[in-house]
Symmetry: C2
Subunit: 397 residues, 2 copies
Amino acid sequence: MFRGTGMDEFAGCFCCGPRPGFPYAAIDAAASSSLSSPTNIEAMAEAGRPRVSSTSGGPVIDCHGHYTTEPPEFLDWRKRQIAAIGDASQAPSIDSFQVSDDRLRDSVEGAQLKLQRERGTALTLFSPRASGMSHHIGDAGVSTAWSRLSNDLIHRMTRLYPENFVGVCQLPQSPGVEPKNCIDELSRCVNELGFVGCNLNPDPTGGYWTDPPLTDRWWYPLYEKMVELDVPAMVHVSAAANRNFHTTGSHYINGDTTAFMQFLMSDLFTDFPTLRFVIPHGGGAIPYHWGRYRGIAQDQKLPLLSELLLKNVFFDTCVYHQAGIDLLTQVIPAENILFASEMVGAVKGIDPESGFNFDDTRRYIDASVTLTPDQKRAIFSDNVQRVYPRLRAKLSS
Amino acid sequence: MFRGTGMDEFAGCFCCGPRPGFPYAAIDAAASSSLSSPTNIEAMAEAGRPRVSSTSGGPVIDCHGHYTTEPPEFLDWRKRQIAAIGDASQAPSIDSFQVSDDRLRDSVEGAQLKLQRERGTALTLFSPRASGMSHHIGDAGVSTAWSRLSNDLIHRMTRLYPENFVGVCQLPQSPGVEPKNCIDELSRCVNELGFVGCNLNPDPTGGYWTDPPLTDRWWYPLYEKMVELDVPAMVHVSAAANRNFHTTGSHYINGDTTAFMQFLMSDLFTDFPTLRFVIPHGGGAIPYHWGRYRGIAQDQKLPLLSELLLKNVFFDTCVYHQAGIDLLTQVIPAENILFASEMVGAVKGIDPESGFNFDDTRRYIDASVTLTPDQKRAIFSDNVQRVYPRLRAKLSS
């Protein structure tokens, strides 16, 4: 028997993927979970405890934060959009979405901003809720409108809090639709809204994996634009529409592992020497199996992974225990690791073993006994500015 | 551009899975890679080096070995079977497969048996090549004949080498076909051939994941038989038919991660308190993200993972570097870890960083500075006999 959550209820046929029905549950779950006193807020009672001092110096920049506390008006708009699938005349216009700045402030003041202050994070690369992208819902038109609205909302947050948030955009991907369809929205977000990167979904189907791998020429026009704009992508799947997968527990991690292995077996970075990807959630399973990947590459007569991939592929620190972070920092060069917490994200509670929030990942880096102060500074601050040059430009201006 | 191998060439339509065409490449690749001086054999030149002494005592039992050096006659039979898909009158009979005992001995003497001797492994739970199961090829009839032949071959190996090999069977799974269809073959292998467990594929489609999750009642009749026979299953996917996945690099690891998360979100072990699963490849991504899984369970108001799952779920040690094994043994209780190497398997070369084969996993356990001698003995010998009681009975008889 399956103990599902709204976010991962099965809603697909056995062949061709999702059906309407799922999205409502997902949205309902999202609305109820994010807007009614998030668990993490309750957990903030631990804020008074002394934290381990950082020896790194420099600002701490979180490269992976999602707007997971959206106001209900926003989720209502999405509900109406989904309800209108199949009858475009009923679809809400982007302009029909209205919410006050005060409502937006309320949505983050007690959440992301409070956590930033408590944890000593200077700023967050902020993008729409990852599971909310749900590229499998509706067609490319639905995805385009939803992405535009989501990115506009992020843009408002970056204007309300320019010291705290820098924008990263959702792309209007859709199953079976060529990624070049995303170029206009990427350009708009970077050139007009000041965003510094994008989230790229390697499986817009939500767990059926029927689009081409990230290394197929299918994706090349989008990569050309990323290179031209000099923005990286975080590889990030969205909600699982396939009931075999739990969104944050397996689908996210599998997406990370899958993307890395696609890169390993490809010539992608020969074709695009400056293309850059961040693999979130600590790189999925990759660092844990680093010997396996080094060995597979060697069996294939490929160069060392450091030469083959590590000029183009980076890992974030969304690994929620000290042992995991210690492994990550032991096997992956520090210059390839970017600090991140994914907060307010996948895990909200306090770890009874440590007494602190699982997703308070700064503590694990601070507590590392093998990283040097220079390496910690690289992970907290320098690397992200190198990988996201438009962020560096913002910070320098 | 994708640098594929025969084993993971794309051969599926974008909707409904594999087409003929793929299997030939897979078989060709398997035949050529396994039968022409495997790399690992060449790597055996390192055998003379002194190895770290085991402080564990007791026999070292490898719970995860595949027959990956099958004789060409066997692979030829499979080619003929695949060629006859769609024209059953051309299908080869099981009885038409003929190979001498000498040919079988030749296939393992210089490979698995030599490695056992060199590495000090007493015996191996031996099953058919995992990628060779390829349940996505053909229908249930094809899978049944192929499984029967594959299991019969394993049975011959266990009779030729009763001190070295104990059988674990392949199941005749097929996409969309109820798992109860596997009961007869499981019973035959256990009751007639003396096998002690089975390999269970959580995704018979080869990467499209369109069958129900392992926690669905779809699987319950098979679980009832497993419980009755008191045999565990190793959760093990087969070859990837979906070009998004690399068979050993991502599909295997994703299968492991997915299965654990299905178990976590289910009441399966309430319904089957004595059902047991081994998750191979070090548990996929699970131990690396142990904090994430503890946190997700806590957010869901579930019991501690130790209570929820660890009476029923076990992890093997197929993790090919010291840092990975150290993490595994740090976060997972020693009583839940079973020694395994997956040899001759996914990675065949020598790690230039250690000077030893990547898959010589005994060295990592031996070298652990945190495991006690009792814990090492549990991992090498005791646990596997507890999880596979029919193995214990064999060793006691």
